[in-house]
Structure formats: C-alpha cells, structure tokens
C-alpha cells in the first residue's frame, strides 16, 4: 500500500528521531567505555592514566557489588510480582459495575501522580517511622513494641513503597485492556456453562497477555534504575542493605569522585540490563507483531 512518495516522507519523518537517539546513545556510551579503562579521579586532576581492567576488577570484587546485584534483583522481582498480581486483581474488581466508579478509579490511580521523592518521604516520616508514624502508633496502641521498618526490614519497606507507586500503572493498563474485551464472548461462554475460573483462564487471561507483557517490560525498565526512593529513605543503608546497582554507581562516581570506577560500574550495569532486555525483547517482539 505504501507508495514511493509516502515511503520517502516516512524516512524523512523518522530520521530526526533515529539520528538524535543514535547520537545520544553512542557518544556518552563510548565515553563511558573509554573512562572505564582509565584511572580518573576528579579530585586529582591531570593524573589520568591507562588502567586496563583494574577498575572492573575492583568494582566486581567489592563486597558491596554482590549485595547491590542481589538487592536490585529482589527489588525488581518483588515489585513486579506485587504489581502484576495486585494490578490484575484491582483491574478485575474495577471493571465490575459499581456506584461512584469514576471516583473510586481516581482514588486507586492517584499514587501514580505522586513524585518518587515525595511518596518516599511520606511513607518514611508519616507511616513507617517507629515513633511518629501511623503504623507505629497503631501497634503501640495495641501494646506491642513498634517496628523500625527501615532499620529491620529496609529492602522490604522500599519494595513496598515502590509497589505502592507502580500498582496504579499496572491497574490502569490492565483495566483498559479488560475493557476492550468483547462482552459477547464472555456471555456466550457463560451460557455454555463455563465457570468464572474457566472464563478467566481461557478468555480474559489470553486477551490480557499483551497488556501484561507491556506492564512487565515498562516496569522492569524503570525499576532497574530506582534511585530517589533509596536516596530519600535509607541512603543505601543500613550498611549496604538497600544499595542497588544504580545507587552503588552514584556513590562511587559522584560521592567518591572516582570517574573510572563509576564508569566501569556503568558498563557492567549496561551489560546486566542488556541480559534482562534480551529476554524481554523476545517476549515483547512476539506480542508486537500481532
């Protein structure tokens, strides 16, 4: 259907995006790779020299690196699990007829519009603080000792906060997908005697497959680089209990001014993200075709 003219105009339209993105990606990427092979500390100007693989060696053998990998994986997997399952449940619920539907939907979706720093602060000071927080006060009201969330369960607390922020996103996408499902199909299945579980498993879930992959893909991209929540609540601590890869690189390059080390970390982060990306791309690639 595409004519020669429309094809050339299409090429014209797409080229600014491609060129900008290519430049944006290649220039800093090459610089990162280059710096990662240098001894380069901003506190000692004029002393850059070739370092070989030293930066990589020290970055990987640093004990906080293994911790950071584990924390990153835990955070991503935990939040994905909670938001996908929870979002599916919320979407199924919100799809049902009810009074005040608009208001309830807005209330469920509201956390999505709160900035990460703000929501982290709110949870930290008003809910999870052992003395002033609401959770603490409720628990002491019943006569138990309050829980110091960020002291005892730092990573789980952050996972919880991030989940709260991303649940609305999953709900929103899944709800939209659910609404595009043909009601006649469901009705026909019901008349044929299919139970709710069967209808869910054989009709709704396959219909939602694409939406679920979109949710997982987009969330993974953002969750791999969660930063503000950690900076605001725990500063990566106690110890390295909540340091994820992003935070570790921030610490080594901008707090310790070690550009070489930070770059090596960046390259490693890119490689790891690509490993995740390959799997996701396979999945999404199939779903984008349809």
């Amino acid at each position: 259907m595409a004519t020669k003219a429309s094809r050339s105009s299409a090429r014209l339209m797409i080229s600014p995006a491609v060129i900008l993105l290519l430049g944006w990606m290649l220039v800093p990427l090459c610089m990162t790779v280059y710096f990662s092979f240098l001894y380069y500390n901003l506190l000692q100007p004029g002393t850059t020299s070739f370092a070989g693989w030293d930066n990589y060696y020290w970055f990987i053998t640093d004990p906080s690196f293994t911790d950071a990998i584990k924390n990153t994986l835990f955070l991503v997997a935990g939040v994905l699990f909670i938001t996908t399952i929870g979002g599916l449940g919320a979407a199924l619920l919100l799809d049902k007829p009810m009074f005040g539907q608009g208001l309830i939907r807005i209330m469920v979706i509201a956390p999505f519009f709160v900035m990460p720093t703000v929501s982290a602060l709110v949870w930290k000071n008003m809910f999870m603080n052992p003395v002033n927080g609401i959770f603490g006060q409720i628990v002491t009201g019943f006569g138990f000792p309050p829980i110091d969330f960020f002291g005892q369960y730092p990573l789980a607390s952050i996972t919880f906060i991030v989940s709260w922020m991303w649940l609305p996103f999953a709900t929103l996408i899944l709800l939209t997908a659910l609404q595009s499902l043909d009601q006649d199909q469901l009705e026909a299945a019901e008349m044929d005697g299919a139970s709710w579980l069967n209808r869910f498993w054989y009709i709704m879930l396959p219909h939602l497959a694409r939406a679920i992959t979109v949710v997982i893909l987009i969330q993974t991209i953002f969750l791999l680089s969660v930063f503000a929540e950690i900076l605001v609540t725990t500063n990566g601590g106690p110890g390295t209990a909540t340091t994820n890869l992003t935070y570790l690189i921030y610490v080594s390059s901008l707090l310790q001014f070690d550009v070489g080390m930070g770059s090596a970390g960046g390259v490693i982060a890119i490689i790891l993200a690509n490993i995740v990306a390959i799997f996701l791309m396979r999945m999404i690639g199939k779903n984008l075709d349809a």
Binding site: A2, S6, R7, S9, A10, R11, M13, I14, P16, A17, V18, L20, L21, W24, P28, L29, M31, T32, A90, L93, L94, K96, M98, F99, I104, R105, M107, V108, A110, P111, F112, F113, M115, V122, W123, M126, V131, N132, G141, W164, L167, P168, L172, T176, E187, L217, I221, L224, S225, L245, Y250, S253, L254, V259, G262, A269, A273, N274, G285, D289
Partner: protein
C-alpha cells in the same frame, strides 16, 4: 448491551472497591490533612490529629517563606513542559511513519529504540556530567530539559498495530513522562 445486575452485588462491589481505593489513596489524603496542622500537632496519634487539634494554614506560609516554593515549582513546570514538547516534536512524526508506512526494518528500529530506554541512566551518568560541565550546562534548566527530552521521547513509540488505539497508548506514555518529572 449491558446485562442487568442485582443491586446487592453492585453495593458489594462498591464497598470492596471503595475500601481498596481508600487504602491506596490514604497516604495522599494524609499529607493533605497534615498540611493543615501545626508541626507539633502533626506527630500526635492519628485519631487525636483528626478530631482534637486545630486547623491552620501556617505551614503553607512557612514553606513559601523558607524556600521560595514558587520558583522551584516553576522550574518543574518549565522542565517538564519543555521536554515534553520537544519530545513530541521529534516523536510524533516518527510514530506516524512507523504506524502508517511500516517497512521491513520498522520492527527492528522500534526494538532498538526500546532497548535504548533500557540503558540504565547511570551507565551514561558520568559522561553527561562531564559534557555538561564543559559546555556550561550544569545547573541550567535548558540542560535538564534536553536530557529529559532525549531520555523520554522513546516512551511515545510504543506502537499499537492497527489504526485504532494509537491515541490511547500515546496518552499513557505521556502520563508516564509527567510522573517521571
């Protein structure tokens, strides 16, 4: 055609969904409530805060006086609007060409663009910091706007195959961007 639904099940749905909605919304509600309290009242027990302490606008005056709130707010607005507009200018033509004149390479290009989105920002943090330092863009609104534009415009390109629904997908991407900023 919608089927008739008994009033009872509708009420139950409303109660369950309303309860969940309230739980999700509660932290936001709570900020609003606390913002009308004095600092000393804000850390009392929840029920005391609600029913036995006065309401005040004091905090709003303090925040403006102490930190020039409006200036920071206008920074946010300029950066988010600016980067969104710039991103749209670049992304809409590209999305058009992908959706209406797809070629053999469209899928690959799309995949590549998505994959750049997976590049962890920290991976290129250092070079951008140094580039900005050398070009005097550090701490300027313009610099931030450019960065956000380049980071974000890929969001728009989550293409939906047939014609319908392109708009809705775009608006979702748009919302993502707003929340990012």
């Amino acid at each position: 055609m919608a089927r008739s639904i008994s009033k009872k099940s509708k009420i139950i749905n409303t109660l369950v969904a309303g309860f969940i909605g309230f739980l999700m919304f509660f932290p936001i509600l709570w900020i609003v409530v606390l913002s009308f309290k004095t600092e000393e009242n804000a850390i009392r027990a929840p029920l005391e805060i609600l029913f036995s302490s006065g309401w005040t606008m004091e905090s709003f005056q303090t925040v403006q006086a102490r930190s020039d709130y409006l200036k920071h707010f206008s920074n946010s607005v300029i950066i988010s609007l600016g980067s969104t507009v710039l991103a749209l200018i670049v992304a809409v033509p590209a999305a058009w060409s992908m959706a209406f004149v797809p070629s053999r390479h469209t899928k690959n290009v799309l995949m590549w663009m998505l994959s750049t989105k997976m590049l962890p920002p920290v991976g290129v943090l250092v070079p951008i910091y140094l580039l900005f330092r050398d070009f005097d863009l550090l701490d300027t609104r313009f610099g931030l706007t450019i960065v956000l534009m380049l980071i974000n415009f890929v969001c728009l390109k989550i293409k939906k195959p047939p014609l319908g629904g392109l708009g809705s997908r775009k608006s979702v991407a748009y919302e993502i961007k707003i929340s990012l900023v």
